[in-house]
Amino acid sequence: MTQPPPGWPNGEPPDPQRGGWQPPPAPGGPGGWPQQPPAPGAWQAPQFAPQQPAAPGGWPQQPDPGQYGWPAHQPGSPQPQGSWESLGGPVYPPQPRPRGRGKLIASAAVVVALAAGGVTTYIAMSDSNSNGASSPRDAVQSIVTDLNKSDLIGVLDDLAPGERRALANPALEEIKQLKRLKVLLPNADPNNVSGVKFHVQGLTFADKTVPINDRVQVVQLTGGTLDVSSDAAKIPFTREFLDAAFPHGLPTGGNQTQHIDIAQVMRDSNNNQPIRIATQKVGGNWYPSIFYTIADSAAGKEVPTAADSIPAAGGTSPQDAVTKMVNALLKSDYTGAIKLLSPDEFAVMHDYGGLLLQGAGGGTPSGSTLKDLQVKTEQVSGGVTRVTLSSVTVVTGADETTVKVDGSCVDVTAKGQQKRMCASDFVTQIVSFLEGFGVSAHVTPAQQQSLEDLLTGFTKVGVDTTQSDGKWYLNPARSVFDVTSSVLSGLQDNDLLELFRFFASLGN
């Protein structure tokens, strides 16, 4: 409990009205304290109103920190709390401004840092976005340069974006699966890993390119040489794989070299015509195009007109696109089928569609109609949605056939009869089939399991779809390239090695 100050009667403050002690009036007020400094050495109250200008001859504007034993307050640090705070705290003179030289150095450091950062970022952005070429001929030259370096990433990156995505993801996924299944070594010298080396030199081009449309031009090679050397021994297969696939050792003659003289090829097998490589313009840059090169060759170098164009018309969902495709194919409506192909991956079919269909001729309808199609969808890499079959019902005349996928089994209902086929049944049939041809096919339990896993992998094969301008389209190239990795995904541990052992043992 707080003790009253000494001198208070009965522990209570004296009553001023009865002649007791009175508090002093405010400084400067009527009858208040004199406006003069206190005597030297006397206690000085701190200012109650910081920043208040002192009257001439008034009290000092601030106490000397530390003069009364207070800690010197550091500018920039928070005010200490407590009784000191209630007194209003000390008042300090304004901090001296940084000297002009210090500010100059700081400003210079900021400018230099930001300039250096800006330049470095520009270079980094250029490196990150370095893709495509400024002309069709440069595009071809670029992929040749990367082939010479055995630069797989560079070769894939040189391709037109739609084709690149169709090839790159499946290729990388397949490599991953082969490593998981102990076929390829996890690490290898990248200079020798592919087992195939290209060396192209002295390429010459025709003066002019052949325009197909405003997005596609054909570059004509007129000379140069291509040397291709392949050495199977340099492919980084695992020892386990080599033992399983080649129990009697690698076949000899694996090291092969081929020399191709483009001028000679033109003379001998191309009616003295240049070798044509199509290039595609995407986003202002030119890329070599595999699909346009194939289409150009398939069309006999005929240039498609605007009338040959088949515009893209996708589905509202992946399921819708696949359903429309199945219906179009059952009706042999190839124009309708081409409309459903991805304009990013398969723009070539929209440009060349009419021209190619003229040569192919019209098909006859299958006579079957799609009654029901149930699918599963799965997101895979690269913004692709894979559509796999759950069940399908097709009506042909009066007959109705339903195929339903159930794990590793397939239920087939036709003409009122149902039959269930599982992976193990297929394995038995395969062995019987081989033995029917006089092939000795002894299957170990491990090989039986591997074959079942392989067949189960086929149920994971699907159709890849992507979205473009709000519509869903089918990606046939990517779907085809994904088949291998889908099938391999069903295999476990030594399954693939066991399969190679099984196939190597056939006939022994």
């Binding site: 840092a113 893709n131 995505r165 996890p186 980084p236």
Partner: protein
Amino acid sequence: MGQAAGPALGLAGLVVLVVGTFLPWLDSGRAQRNSYETGGALKRLLGLRGLADAAVSAWPFVALVCAGIVAIFAVGLRRSAASLALLTALATGAVAVAALRVDGNRFIQPVKLGPIVTLVGATAVLVAATLLLISARLLRIPRRSTI
């Protein structure tokens, strides 16, 4: 000495970090790629989406962020600079560690040089930023007053 060592270490770390991003990160055949070329190629080839796409798209701005840290420090906002440096070091260090953990394959081999140098730089920045933040916090604690 101590007060000068932090900023000096941080500045050196930032420079090493940025230099590391321009060193080889990937071998493909006989071609080498720095982190930006690698990121750009992977983005185009794999069609990255979502967070991965955002991270790869933001990666080229690492140097600008590092420059920003130096600028912020130069104008006297030391704690802000240290905080940003800390985040940058953690992010770039994580990317470098991830790159070091990637396996090679039949055609493509990650190169350790670039990620290791970046990781060294990031570690130096991390240490410097932590020292700066700790020292700034210590200076904020008032000494006990004795009246």
